[in-house]
């Protein structure tokens, strides 16, 4: 498929989405999980850094407040206090780790562990989603590194948002998935989201990575699987993706790879890119926008959304005419030097200066060495 057709498809989907939102206000949109504010853990939690705690308190109305403040950059900024911009790129990446090293020693497990805490959002990414008691109907589950599976029931929290929580005490990869079924008129919506969380903390008893247990009974199950490699012991990258990282995804439909499926990556500021899955159902995005942009220079994390949709006509006895399957993924991307350093601009200036000075010198010397009559 050529690039152009890819763009056209993307554009069409975009237009279609726009059209759809306008006309059918009842369309629920996508369901996704936004990393919520960190659960303050009684007894062992984040006791060390007072300033961090205070900071968290001050911006405690997480999603909404920060969304207003930073356009649509989402809640993640509150989970990690914005750090003063550091001048070297290496330190930008290594900084959290360094910071933790410098702090007075504290209980390791508590410091490094990271509870699963997500806000359920419904809407049209990258636009603002909403979260209210209607999302309490979401079925959610977590698969822990030790293989244990648990259903999570969303709870309603203070500013009327639906959240799911899990203590996530052991070290490893957690898979959290949620789904929502809705019907509007003759259309049946199946909304899925699945996110991967990595955690430090205690080692699991057995290092079993489980199969994905079928915890939901829906037949038509659309899964967008995050295939990002395990960062291993690189704690700085445990929870984070940085600009420039790769985001490999795999699309499944009913456990079968979904080939040729358009997948869209978008940011809150409106940039989007649509790629299609290959025959294995895989697609890889580079988490960097195609043009140089200025959000990065603010050095705050940005949320990227990946969405994909399947519509198929339905002839069921229930009278439904159409089924819409949607999968979404929200990813918090932290800034890296790629956001504010432009190599092309640098080389461009370099070459330009060299050319200009070179030509000027050549002309000047030509004048000096002109033949004398």
């Amino acid at each position: 498929m050529t690039k152009r057709t890819r763009y056209i498809t993307g554009l069409m989907i975009f237009l279609f989405c726009l059209l759809f939102t306008r006309q059918a206000g009842a369309d629920p949109g996508y369901l996704w999980l936004e990393p919520g504010p960190q659960m303050s853990r009684a007894g062992g939690g984040d006791t060390g850094g007072k300033s961090r705690a205070e900071h968290r308190n001050s911006s405690s109305s997480p999603a909404a407040a920060s969304r207003q403040a930073t356009g649509h950059d989402v809640a993640g900024s509150t989970t990690h206090a914005p750090e003063a911009p550091t001048e070297r790129k290496a330190s930008a990446q290594a900084d959290p780790a360094k910071k933790d090293e410098k702090k007075p020693p504290r209980e390791k497990r508590a410091a490094m562990s990271h509870p699963a805490h997500y806000t359920l959002m419904l809407g049209w990414p990258p636009g603002p989603g909403k979260s209210d008691e209607s999302l309490l109907a979401v079925k959610a589950a977590i698969i822990r590194p030790d293989g244990s599976t648990q259903k999570l029931s969303p709870g309603l929290e203070t500013p009327d948002v639906a959240r799911i929580r899990d203590a996530a005490l052991i070290q490893g990869r957690y898979l959290i998935s949620a789904s929502l079924r809705q019907t509007q008129g003759t259309t049946r919506y199946r909304l899925y989201t699945q996110t991967v969380m990595r955690n430090t903390g205690e080692k699991p008893k057995g290092d079993v990575l489980p199969d994905q247990t079928d915890f939901e009974t829906d037949k038509a199950r659309l899964v967008m699987e995050d295939l990002s490699p395990d960062p291993g012991k690189n704690f700085a990258r445990v929870h984070r993706k940085y600009t420039g990282d790769k985001l490999p995804l795999r699309m499944h439909l009913n456990e079968l790879p979904l080939a040729g499926q358009p997948v869209t990556l978008a940011t809150a500021s409106g940039w989007r890119q649509t790629l299609q899955t290959d025959e294995k159902g895989e697609v890889t995005f580079a988490l960097i926008k195609e043009s140089f942009h200025d959000e990065g220079t603010k050095k705050r994390p940005v949320t990227y959304f990946v969405t994909s949709e399947i519509r198929k006509p339905l002839n069921s006895q229930d009278g439904y005419r159409e089924e819409v399957l949607r999968a979404a993924l929200a990813i918090m991307v932290y800034p890296s030097p790629l956001d504010w350093e432009s190599r092309s601009a640098g080389i461009y200036v370099l070459v330009l200066v060299m050319a200009a000075v070179g030509v000027a010198t050549a002309i000047r010397r030509r004048q000096r060495r002109r033949p004398c009559a």
Partner: protein
Amino acid sequence: MIQIQTDRDQKLTRRLKLHLAMSVREIFDAIALEQNRPVAMRPFDALFMNFAEAPDDILPAKPVKKVGLYCMTVPEEIVYAAGALPVRLCAGSADAAEAGEALFPDVSCPMVKSAAGFTRTGALPFYRQCDLVVIPATCDWKVKLGDILSRHVPVLMLNVPKHKTTETARLFWYDEIRRLCRALEKLTQTRITRARLRASISLIHAAQAEFRRFQDLRADDLCLISGRDAAEVANAWFYMDAASWTGHVRRLNEELHKRKQSGLGVIPKSAPRVLLTGSPVIFPNWKIPSLIENSGGALVCDELCSSGRLLWDMACVDEPLFDDMLDALADRSLMPCTCPVFTDANDRRVKLLRMIRDYRVEGVVHHVLKGCHPYDMELRPLEAELAAAGVSQLKIETDYSPEDTEPLRTRIEAFIETLKGRRLKSGGSF
């Protein structure tokens, strides 16, 4: 170049040829009486004998263009690189000066008069055979000489910056040298390339190496060669091909070296060591060197543009590029030149003091040709400075004519006696 050969002119030419031959023979008759003279001087003698015997054979018989030069501010390397043969046309003949007298005011430089006389009469054929005559506008006489000579030969005047320490002077001179290059390229239809320039620089370097060695031999305590012979060797450079000159001087150096080892000098050690500086001493005007040595002095070195200064300064090729080489040549011909037409007399003073020290000179003879104003003008402050450094000096003002020989002999003898007296006083031995 249109030349109307009147009877009078022809008569003048004949007379000049005759007189020149007479004075040349006179010189070599005297030389023939000398004993103990280095054998390797013979090629040089032969060259200068040709002035009397075969004026057509003075220059090497090569089928190349001949470029006449005046002064030493024209880098000969460029002439060689263009495939031409440089001939230094500065002349020293009293008879030729007479022939050229009509063209100049009464008190004017005899060198210029002599050169103009040769060119006008054609008594020495190569003065008229030159395909180009390059005259740097150094002193006033040279400035006007171009105009006079251009009636007989094609002339290229070079502007010489007189205040050479400024940047503009240097850049100006670089451009003048480039102009010379182009003129020579046009003349010989040969492109001056990097390789040609490099080759000609090493040619001159070889000559300079021999010349420096020759000078070092002269610095020896033993007087290995007379000052007049040294002037002859240097004068021969004017007319000889660089390579053959180098070969002859190398043989001479070898002989002198052997003589040095066997302790054979031509002048007794008792002779006071004299330095000659000032206006050029050019064949056949060897009046002053002969007088000094006949009066019992030893002329151990000279600071003259006709000999001692001639091949001293060496061009350095700092970057292996054509333009840098040209600049280097331009610099070497202008910057270290101690000709008094330049404003800064300091260079000459320093050089003289250094020579006085290196050659252990006891007395300095300032040679001023009548009409050579730049030397005359520079003399007063220079005399004072050298006197302050404790150097005995004698100023001689003369021209090419042999008429004042006897009064000069008296003065020079007196000067030499003074020097001997000083040596005695300071406890020296003979």
